[in-house]
Amino acid sequence: AVTRRLCILKGIYPHEPKHKKKVNKGSTAPRTFYLLKDIKFLLHEPIVNKFREYKVFVRKLRKAYGKSEWSTVDRLKDNKPTYKLDHIVKERYPTFIDALRDLDDALSMCFLFSTFPRTGKCHVQTIQLCRRLAVEFLNYVIASRSLRKVFLSIKGIYYQAEVLGQPVTWITPYTFAHDHPTDVDYRVMATFTEFYTTLLGFVNFRLYQSLNLHYPPKIDGQADVELKPAEGKDYAMDSESYLERLSALSASLARVVAPTHEDEVEMDEFPVEGETAEQMDARKKEQEALEKHKKLFEGLRFFLNREVPREPLAFIIRCFGGQVSWDKSLCIGATYDVSDPSITHQIVDRPRVGKQIVGRYYLQPQWVFDSVNAKLCLPVADYFPGVLLPPHLSPFVTEQEGDYIPPEKLKLLAMQRGENPDEESEEEEEEEEEEEDDNDKEEEEEEDESEKEEEMKLKKMEEQKTQSNKALPVKVTAGKLRLEDKQRLEQEQQSEEKRLAIMMMKKREKYLYKKIMFGKKRKVREANKLAAKRKAHDTAVKEEKKKNKKARRA
């Protein structure tokens, strides 16, 4: 168990030996192999001694408890051995960027642990620490406005932020009680979390520092702070209310240095060698798009109804510069009321809204997510309460050539290009489908062609043979002018050349080639399947509509 913990903490993983049989003394049974070097490296770790001390401490404590020597127990508890993982973090991630690259799992784990109930399963302190670190990280993302993509999946909510140029993706579960599985070893997870919390703490510190923010975070505005404790007492004890307020994500954080308006300063242009003006322009454009994306919800005021998941929505809206509030009884930190006339959007997740106030949009939460992914405020009509929502697409998929692209995505892309979405996209859709069909046919034809060709040849041969058989005493039959279109000939030539080239490949290359071709074909097949499914679905929907219309008319 100690080895396992050490391996987890130090990031040692097994290796696949080059000659498995040789290493395994001739047997081919599956075994895991570690490098000898790695194990020796583990042995030198000072934390091994700490582990030993802790073991001794536990033994002594148990003995004291057994003998009911309470003073000894107290004394032992006072001298409880502790260990720190700082040096391991530094050792595993010599630079800060390295640490950021590995942040995905750390964040996901912390977010998961922060949702655990504070009973059994793992230490309460761990859960509290995880919650604190997660909230701190969220606050950093808000302050730096680095969120890029969000995705509502059936597993949880995916977020992707760009922290110092590194994409960091994490997933949070939906806020429901977990039914803890029995076949999961929580000790392994706890060990990972132990390391991850250390890592995340240091990363948070560094990130806050990079933005000139206080760490541990402080909420901006002294007046607010004075006002709020009174309010906070209704919700929780003083010690907790601070974290609660922080996790409400509604207030901005205090800076060490007062922010001077340096955001507006234009980027200095460093002409990089070998970069043409076009590239520069493209980069500039990209930068502009990014800035625009960051200010997506600037100037909008949101209000979250109580049935809407508050934390993710508040987080996303604040990340893009929007203002957000919620019912005062829902959570601490609400800034304005439902009746505020300046509210522009109210997020609602129920089929009907009772009392509507003029001057604001009532929208379903998916609008926020889709708008963020589309990098523009989508038309609101599709997202009114009670309306059948358009599909929610994953922002993480970048379609390559030949992949299946759902029509909604095409529509979105057209919209991003700034075209009129309605007519063209539909046309495009159809065209696309047709094209796809064509492609399929062509491919099939290509395959067939070679075969056909050969068949033709054979047939001709047969004919000639029979002719010659019949006319064995040599007879000259009238020659026929052979008409062959050049294109076809060329194609044949090409296909034959290709075949010959395939024939010439080495065994390994041929294997690889076959594999690649197989993969390609499978991909095409899958795309076709999806397209066909979609087509069937669309026609079914259309028919349904027609029927409804008829029924209405009749």
Partner: protein, 611 residues
């Protein structure tokens, strides 16, 4: 205490249920039950009319009705309220301290103080000394000072590039989790939802085999989305992957594959002439282009065609299955060696130039019988008159069936292969002296075919798996080539003499560079079935192989004069023409000696010429 009227004691009164009395009084007289003849109605009426009904209680002992007094009712009320039964009892009287409320001037007890109250405690001393000892010995440690350093600080304040060690470069970072696709959305496009069959298939698959580890589902609104029950599982599996999975760097080909072929002269489309025979087994080209070529066949004839016109010039019945034919390579001699069962016939077909075949006849007749007869492994015989008229000149009679015959480049010697297991498998004959010799003392396996080197005095013998190269002058084995094939079928040598190709029945073609090594320079697996024969072209850098799959593959095999450059082998053309009969396709292939034409004989009884 209580006036006891009934003496039955503490017994269940049901025992007296059926008696008229309920017990006995102090005098031993029966106590009779009071007469109760009230029915329900009477009871009700009494309840309504009697104002004291509520305070009437039945005495179980006597069975009499008792009316409670006011005091008794009061008592009941008090007890019900949880108060004391006695009205006058006050539970909240002020307490009087019985011990110190009166200060006394004398002690209560007059016992003198113990001695031990004046001297230090021994037990405590012992305890303290134990502690002191424990501290001295280091068993008890003093309380640690509290650590004041903050938990988090700028760990990467001094990033120095030297801290990136070799182990960091060697470290293989774990691959990131796969990012979710459209199908994972809570509201995916309809085409990503699984149909019923797909769902069934998904359920029947092993969890490890599934492409998706979840079933895509659609929810109408965010409110309806439930928690994902396998979330913790997935995180846990990720943890396991992180610390238990072996990591390895794998090269991945990203480029789209385009098979490359060196630019070469393309073969023209094949035209073909066909001959007719039942089963052609062997071909041999004439020495010059307009000359006819013979073909041996299973129907016991040898046929000669003229290539230009595809006319069958001559048919020679030989009275036996023809295994192999070979035209003498010497252009001044017009002679064909034919294997017929146990004999090799040397035939002058009397075709082509009259001077030429006349000279050949003269050459054969100029033989003078030597004085002393030598012991020969075979018998040489001149043809009979009848045979002579057909063209047969000499008959070499072997002891066993002859498989193959091949000429030396000069045209005087020829070698024959006998299908035998002894050392007599290979025989070398000299036509001019009409004598034969057996070059090998021992048999090294079943000889498949033999070949003379075109320039040097080498002799190639192909057994099933090896090709042995003998030096005929020194009479020794110079090389043994490993073919890496299971069963060699045929062999051909490059006119340059440094390269050999071997076709084998396990559909491989091995190209040997004799200068390079004894292993194949390249093993070509172009054919799908067994190779029957291979051939080199005399002038062009071409070679062809015929196989049981009915195809002839012509390859470009460039051999460079520069010894450092390896030969370049590129397939040029796949010739399909022969029908497959009896699982046999092409039996023999040959090149025209000067033109880039290929002849192939097939099991379908045709000889085809591809140009």
């Amino acid at each position: 205490l209580q006036d006891i009227r009934n003496t039955v004691g503490n017994i269940p009164m049901e025992w007296y249920q059926d008696f008229p009395h309920v017990g006995y009084n102090l005098d031993g007289k029966k106590i009779y039950k009071p007469i109760r003849n009230k029915d329900e109605l009477d009871m009700f009426l009494e309840k309504m009319e009697n104002p004291d009904y509520w305070r009437t209680v039945q005495d179980k002992m006597t069975g009499a009705d008792i009316k409670l007094t006011d005091e008794q009712v009061d008592l009941v009320h008090r007890l019900q309220r949880g108060q004391f039964g006695d009205v006058h009892f006050d539970p909240y009287e002020p307490a009087v301290d019985f011990f110190t409320h009166e200060v006394m001037i004398h002690p209560v007890t007059n016992r003198p103080a113990d001695k031990r109250s004046f001297i230090p405690s021994l037990i405590e001393k012992e305890k303290v000394s134990k502690l002191v000892h424990a501290i001295k010995m280091g068993w008890i440690k003093p309380r640690k000072p509290k650590d004041d350093t903050p938990t988090y600080y700028d760990l990467w304040a001094h990033e120095d590039p030297n801290s990136i060690l070799g182990r960091h470069k060697m470290h293989v970072p774990a691959p990131k989790m796969k990012l979710p696709g459209h199908e994972e959305s809570y509201n995916p496009p309809p085409e990503y939802l699984l149909s019923e069959e797909e769902k069934l298939a998904w359920e029947q698959q092993e969890p490890a085999e599934r492409k998706l580890n979840f079933v895509p589902q659609q929810y109408r609104c965010l409110r309806a989305v439930p928690a994902y029950s396998r979330f913790i599982h997935e995180r846990f599996e990720r943890c396991l992957d992180l610390y238990l999975c072996p990591r390895q760097r794998k090269m991945r080909v990203r480029a789209s594959p385009t098979p490359q072929q060196p630019p070469l002269a393309r073969a023209a489309r094949g035209r073909f002439h066909t001959g007719l025979c039942s089963l052609l087994s062997s071909l041999s080209p004439g020495p010059a282009s307009p000359c006819p070529r013979p073909a041996g066949s299973d129907d016991c004839t040898v046929r000669f065609w003229e290539v230009c016109t595809a006319r069958c010039m001559k048919t020679l019945p030989v009275g036996g299955v023809v295994k192999s034919v070979a035209w003498n390579p010497n252009p001044t001699i017009c002679l064909v060696a034919i294997c017929v069962e146990q004999s090799v016939l040397l035939v002058n077909p009397c075709l082509g130039d009259k001077l030429l075949y006349g000279a050949t006849d003269q050459l054969l007749e100029s033989y003078v019988v030597p004085e002393e007869e030598r012991v020969q492994p075979v018998q040489w015989a001149t043809a009979t008159v009848e045979e002579h008229s057909k063209g047969v000149r000499l008959v070499v009679q072997h002891s066993k069936a002859v498989k193959q015959v091949t000429w030396h480049g000069k045209g005087d010697y020829f070698a024959s292969v006998v299908s035998d297991n002894s050392n007599m498998q290979v025989l070398i004959h000299q036509t001019s002296k009409r004598w034969s010799q057996n070059p090998f003392r021992k048999s090294k396996g079943l000889v498949q075919c033999v070949l003379f080197h075109p320039i040097r005095p080498y002799f190639f013998v192909a057994t099933q798996r090896y090709v042995r190269v003998y030096n005929l002058l020194k009479q020794e084995l110079t090389k043994k080539l490993m073919t890496n094939c299971k069963w060699v079928s045929s062999m051909a040598i490059h006119p340059g003499g440094d390269n050999i190709i071997c076709g084998s029945y396990d559909s491989k073609l091995a190209w040997f560079d004799l200068d390079l090594s004894t292993r194949p320079y390249q093993l070509l697996r172009h054919h799908k079935k067994a190779l029957r024969s291979v051939a080199f072209h005399k002038h062009y850098p071409l070679f062809a192989s015929g196989s049981d799959d009915g195809t002839v593959i012509v390859c470009h095999g460039m051999v460079y004069n520069d010894l450092l450059q390896n030969p370049l082998l590129v397939p040029v053309k796949v010739l399909k023409g022969h029908a497959i009969t009896l699982d046999l396709g092409v039996l023999d292939v040959l090149f025209h000696p000067t033109q880039p034409w290929v002849f192939s004989s097939g099991a379908d009884g045709t000889v085809r010429l591809y140009a």
